[in-house]
Symmetry: D3
Subunit: 276 residues, 6 copies
């Protein structure tokens, strides 16, 4: 049984990209639970390495750097890249070229599994009165969502062609608390995010699975039935914040595309309108 075919509960080395971001900082201590060494990378500076950690500053758009970054890695939690609507150039560098660099490096180094932080903005142009599942066609709401759709297709390709497994997590809103009424549907607590990442890392067989990342919210637009094999059971709910959130936002403008669509404000912001 070669290393390449082992699917473990506990990993030797996990790479966490985007470790300096808000979600990366939250997940950093939590991922230690399932690996011997945690490699952390980002473009931005972060807290220095503690015991069992390795910190590497690397640009995902730099192919050679990414190739070095993946050496000796067993699994990846890929939070790196741009996570907001920005110029096409920045999104393409980090999320298109960066993703290709990551997967190609992972393939060469025999990485077994990637947990890919995709986004609900991959399907942001569905309406908020539609309940969709990971099998419905994508409807990205901007360049950011488009780049995440690309990342999912890339993951599918590396699974079909090379047997490299990925769980694409279409993260809703991973914050300490929901900030507005939309997030009552999309919120995922940090504890649930940890639960989902752990499930994605340790489920025995995932191929390329897509799952929406949300807590056990009363209101939901996403049906994760096709991903029940991952074993993710959210324990938190946005409901405890409902009264406060609704008080803060007592009315909604029904003609605002951001109110109508799942992607929220992403469906009407972005770099499109700037002149070249």
């Amino acid at each position: 049984m070669s290393d390449l075919t082992v699917s473990p509960i506990r990993f030797g080395r996990i790479l966490l990209t985007g470790a300096a971001g808000h979600l990366g900082r939250e997940m950093r201590p939590r991922l230690k639970a399932c690996c011997d060494r945690l490699r952390l990378s980002d473009l931005e500076p972060m807290a220095p390495a503690t015991d069992g950690e390795e910190v590497i500053v690397a640009d995902l758009a730099d192919r050679a750097a990414v190739l070095a970054l993946l050496e000796g890695v067993d699994a990846v939690v890929h939070l790196g890249g741009v996570s907001t609507e920005q110029s096409w150039e920045r999104i393409a560098a980090a999320n298109i070229h960066g993703a290709v660099n990551l997967y190609e490096a992972a393939r060469r180094h025999g990485v077994r599994r990637i947990v890919f932080a995709s986004s609900n903005h991959v399907t942001g142009f569905y309406r908020q009165d539609q309940v969709i599942s990971p099998r419905d066609p994508v409807r990205p709401d901007g360049f950011y969502g488009l780049s995440k759709a690309f990342g999912e297709d890339l993951a599918q390709l590396y699974w079909d062609r090379f047997g490299l497994e990925t769980v694409s997590v279409r993260i809703g809103s991973a914050f300490a608390a929901p900030k507005d009424r939309r997030m009552l549907a999309t919120w995922m607590s940090f504890d649930d995010t940890e639960r989902l990442f752990m499930a994605a890392l340790t489920a025995p067989v995932v191929g390329h699975s897509i799952v929406y990342g949300l807590s056990d919210n009363a209101t939901a637009w996403w049906d994760n039935t096709p991903a029940r094999h991952l074993g993710y059971r959210p324990q938190d709910s946005s409901e405890v914040f409902r009264a406060e959130v609704e008080a803060r936002q007592p009315v909604l403008d029904r003609e605002d595309p951001a109110v109508i669509h799942q992607g929220g404000a992403f469906v009407r912001t972005g770099p499109f309108f700037e002149e070249a």
Copy 2:
């Protein structure tokens, strides 16, 4: 932002039709929680208006009366009309013409949303060993179910054409307790009914949504997955009544159409057999 485009948590004035009926009487005090003024209407007499209430006796079949009734109304909980199998004439007057009068009046007065008390009898001819969802074709079990199917199609029309939102609630059995074994599947407690109506009134975007109205019963024929965006989470279950109900009804006649079909006794009663 005009009034027409505001989707609020709390309404200025809600109209409750059918307020003198058994469900209307239960919902009357509960609906006060989300509005400033509660207008109550029925053909039958009811308890006089208390603070914040307005009582109007009106016949849904009277177009002019309905037009007046809707004036100044922000949202409607439409329980009015016939809710049992009766003569076609009575059903048509209240549930066909009455529904058209209500929607046309609502459109003219800029009402934002209607919660329409539809019925499980819209799909009463499915068998009790079939699990269906709001997307399956209707199979009404009598004139009553037929009139409710009409109401849902009317709601769809006013949404597609005029942007008037409706939640059609296919109510199972809204009683204090389940009365027979069929109701172990169809029962909806009054508290859950309130939860569902509140969710239907305040969900940010509903278009025309259809949802089955039932509690969290162990046995269920209806899959509400397509309506999860409403945020309805039932808290009660018919299971606490199971032992008592089963003791009361220890055997069922499997050749009785009322035992076989979801609509129960409705599938074999009604005015069809009377001679003209």
Copy 3:
């Protein structure tokens, strides 16, 4: 084997309602091929009865008249009623009450099968870039489409409850030739209409079947796969008219709801905007 259970190729007496209308006049001589006697009814005057014909002037809204009209009838081709967007009162009288009168009379007289002229306006609010089938939810585009959706549900009820069979034909555009670009998709030649009616009358088992009525047009929005048991094979195509039609209508206004939706101009006309 009682009369009630016989499904024939050739009928004793067929009733054609709406016989004075444009489609009724076309079908009148053609229906003679499969019956001994053809009963013709309408509110309007029509050509006098020839050999094997019976002409009866009757108002569908008159229950007693309809009860008499159905006496001795084996099958019905029901073209009667309103077929354009008119006032609710007129549509309700002919298409709602008239349909109930017809089905109730048919049930009492043991009629075996009804071919019901439903309409594509039952689903007129789907977009012209959507391909739908008879199993998709209805989206009527006005009071007329709404009344036809009611008729289909009524047919379903009489099948489920009484075993009275119906083929609901959602007629596209039954004219001598397509009049505009929309009709390139919706056109059904008179010969194909005859073929479809004959198939609907003589298919051995139909229960309640729904089929779209269109010729073998290159462009189509409707997938009749679920109705292949009827044996309808259209022989004509709107393609022979394409050059002429496109020359007549070289541009389309993409912001016009009538251009976008399957229902065409029906989606923006009708009696809604008149004041009471």
Copy 4:
């Protein structure tokens, strides 16, 4: 109301086949709760009959013996037959011919309902990253799964043709505890097995229903939505065993077909490779 049409909560006599097997011994005392007399059969010896019990040694492959066995029986819980991969001859005798004998005898004696112990091996060749429902095509993983697929089709035939009802329970892993990581998904506790059998026996209308037998495990490959009418609500979960099971089996060989497929080791064992 003849006996044949009565669907009771409490049965006169239930037959439990396979009563000497490990699951049979567990269910024996539990089934007493819903019947007056419990008839127990097996090829193997078992504990002697206590009050209200009847013990009959019978070979399912013996048509006459099975005909006698079913006399006076109201309902059957059919656990009998081979439940592991064995030679085709042994499987055919017990699970193919035995099942035909049982159903034919049940039909002749007017048995009302059979709870048939089918198996997840009916669909064992789906991958562990696929979530399937009872409506998906079967993919048996060996002669055993093939024989259970046959049993389900037989049950469908006796329902369609004779109105004999069956609930086919595709049992996952009914043991005291999950033994390996695969069973974290497939485990069904004995208490949940009892709950499911009771639901299957007493649900008012079942026709031929198929349900997967598993507890409320966090990880699941099977979606029982189409069987919600049975009223089965599992109360246990394999999650309490997860830490221990994962510690025992820290790595999995991803190239092993038994790791990849739902059927586990069944997909690569069996009598195929023996020479005739």
Copy 5:
């Protein structure tokens, strides 16, 4: 490239089982077109072997005989076995045990592909107003249909487990002409049968594919869309026989299960009612 992995257009040796039956006799000369040697087997006597033919009398229920029969065979057209409703024992011997013998022998001899004569009676309990596809659940109409469902599941198993390919052809009515109105839907001409068998033998990749065997009939209950990869295009149609067939059978008894269901008379005949 081993022999086992070659998928040819022209085969060395094809085995035709059931060669003495009515369909076997028709196909015998036609199959010569795609093989060098045609081996013919049956229990019954048949015309002596001509050039390029081998005739072997063999009982499918005889494992050793079947093992010998398959030696040196590249592909099989398996028409053998019972093709009418008979006693369970006869059906089981030929169609259950015979099929297992055939597949096990085929596996051992490295046969590349089997064209399996399944039957429309695998789904005979669907109604004639339902249009189904090979993906819908089976509903066999008797022991014969049940045995064919078993054969298809067996084929699925040998594909999933051993990579032995099968095309299961659910033959409708393969006769010189349709004999009754049901066969207007189910008829497959001998020429079309040849076309379908050739397509099934030579399509590059089939795995286990299921296809309904019918001509291009106007009336059809079966949608072969999922089998379009086989390249079967029927050229004949029952329509040319319609007038004659309808004249011969001008009325149908709608209460006869054989008229209602796709399986025709099979749904009400068979050995069930004989006493043991």
Copy 6:
């Protein structure tokens, strides 16, 4: 009615990108039929402009050049970019950045519709025994297919967000004749390609539609039912080439991924295996 909302039969100016490629050269004279001026662009040299033509050499990766290229254009047939498996850098430049440049330029210049030459390699990892439709999830078979999946998602975004219409044509094999057995399924004649492009340009409403580009081949893996609104009716078939093609390629290696999958040789070629 502004220019932006006009959907014409005949266009003022159409831009054909990739005009120097083999398909571009074929389509060049054919596209003149539906426009006044045909603008032709490519990186490579091409035949000089004739009457009514404009030739512009432009690199799709050059944003400013593309912005200029789209000026005054009413519709685009976008064949430009890389159409084989090449290095990621070349594919990204032409098919990722080039596509973004094209859509952004089209949006700014008010282009009404784009016919986008996507590819069957977007779903190349489906097996050849699977029949798929444009609604199934993508499974790209290499960087080229991945870049085309990106282009489709981009088209969806520009439709959802800006109302710019696209028909994504997943071209099979557009050659003078099918070259191998795979192309018997994927071939699209030049005449059919012209028919499909014309339909895509002139269908009244397309939103973002996806259609597979193939002739009326007997063998097909792709079901275009969801795209019937485009009005594409292929007139040619690969069947006329079958005998010759099969003779040229009498055996297939069933273990070759290129034989098993729809993408053919693309699934095992490409730049992945080169070292950085």
